[in-house]
Symmetry: C2
Subunit: 250 residues, 2 copies
């Protein structure tokens, strides 16, 4: 029976798992769990992941959730996966584990919350929250700074000084890619100080093409849609401010 | 050269690593990094963990931080560690990984933040924050509920239905044990609905005795000190309210 990957490409860990499967030519079926329709809370999906989150996999009788655990499982169970993704060498392996653990309580907390509180909240019926966004930005910038100065300090192009990407590169790059949905000025301002991080995003993209671009397409569509909404909101603001201003000038 | 464990027993992941070493008779040197003196930010410790967090280890030339990564490393590199802590079987291993990943973004977020915002903030020069505490309590209760209904649903006494503890049991139990420093009414209220969780704490304690109790001593001392402070604050409140009330009655 084919591996089933339950995912929504709008979710960053879902994208990491899908790209991993495609790059490594793992034969799988992608089952869309539409987060905007709250399908992750359906009784059927709760049978697969009672936590109501994507991604999750079913491989034969085996069920698993949490994207890092899934990436480790896939790297170990499919013999065609190259060693650099999750090296057999214990010392390399636990260093990757260290990056993945750090990711949970640093980069993920900053990036996901910043995007939620500045941009995506209305889609979930929540108000934008500038104070929570400011706090998340601190965590995000501190995380990017640590990536620049520590995780990318080696001579190689990838995290931990590697010459080829590991599951940590894929997981972290998908986290950062969600910043694409931000207002472009915001995104540039946040990423601008981190030249190595920018180069590493491009290197990881190149190393996983064409799947990286294909799986991120949904994000670029959302980016365009949100940008259009922002322009319309701005132009209607200008018009209404013109309306308010003009009569007094007439 | 002996394994060095840089830790502060007031930190829950530090305790998990120290208990693991002791239970498994790993020969190690415990190096205290006193968080209350901000020693984690000293230049010497930053050489070991540039993130400025405990625990961290140095094993010969090899440095590592992030407690889950450390536990995995120790379980793999020391031949005397029993298989149940981190089974060689891939399917069991990635399920443990799934619990550990879940821990980062659920139980840890709830427990650590609740304790910080209700109890420990003043020790770090911060004000208590009832709103943040209320949000953290939601995450904490939801996490305990998931432990009760899912992670502890098997027939065994430990997480994932195991008959013996894994590194996930140790990591999560140390997280929950920090609730000891709370006001006892608060702690009872939070844990009361979760009978399986309570039994599992006791079972994990029994399985790792006497080290569990010894390593948690510092927490019980802190609990007693905080309880005394609370009683004193309460009695001085009563006295000052008596003072305010009495004159008007005289």
């Amino acid at each position: 029976m084919k591996l089933k990957v339950y995912a929504d490409r709008m979710s960053q860990p879902s994208r990491a798992v899908i790209i991993f499967c495609k790059v490594n030519e793992i034969d799988f079926e992608e089952v869309r769990i539409d987060l905007s329709k709250r399908q992750q809370f359906s009784p059927e999906f709760k049978e697969i992941n009672p936590m109501g989150k994507v991604p999750a996999i079913v491989d034969g009788r085996f069920k698993l959730f949490e994207s890092h655990a899934i990436l480790i499982y896939l790297a170990c169970v499919f013999p065609g996966v190259a060693d650099h993704w999750y090296p057999a060498d214990l010392f390399k392996r636990v260093k990757i584990q260290s990056v993945l653990d750090w990711h949970h309580t640093n980069l993920r907390q900053g990036a996901a919350k910043y995007v939620l509180h500045t941009t995506l909240a209305p889609a979930f019926g929540l108000p934008l929250n500038p104070q929570a966004a400011a706090e998340a930005e601190k965590v995000l910038s501190s995380s990017l700074s640590k990536m620049e100065s520590f995780w990318l300090k080696g001579s190689g192009r990838f995290l931990l000084g590697g010459n080829q990407p590991s599951i940590a590169d894929l997981s972290l790059v998908c986290e950062i890619m969600q910043l694409e949905v931000l207002d472009e000025n915001d995104r540039s301002r946040i990423l601008a100080p981190y030249k190595k991080v920018q180069q590493w995003i491009e290197d990881t993209r190149q190393a996983t093409r064409p799947h990286f671009d294909e799986v991120h397409k949904i994000l670029f569509k959302a980016k365009a849609r949100l940008q259009k909404q922002r322009s319309m909101a701005k132009s209607s603001e200008t018009q209404s401010s013109l309306k308010t201003t003009l009569p007094s000038k007439l």
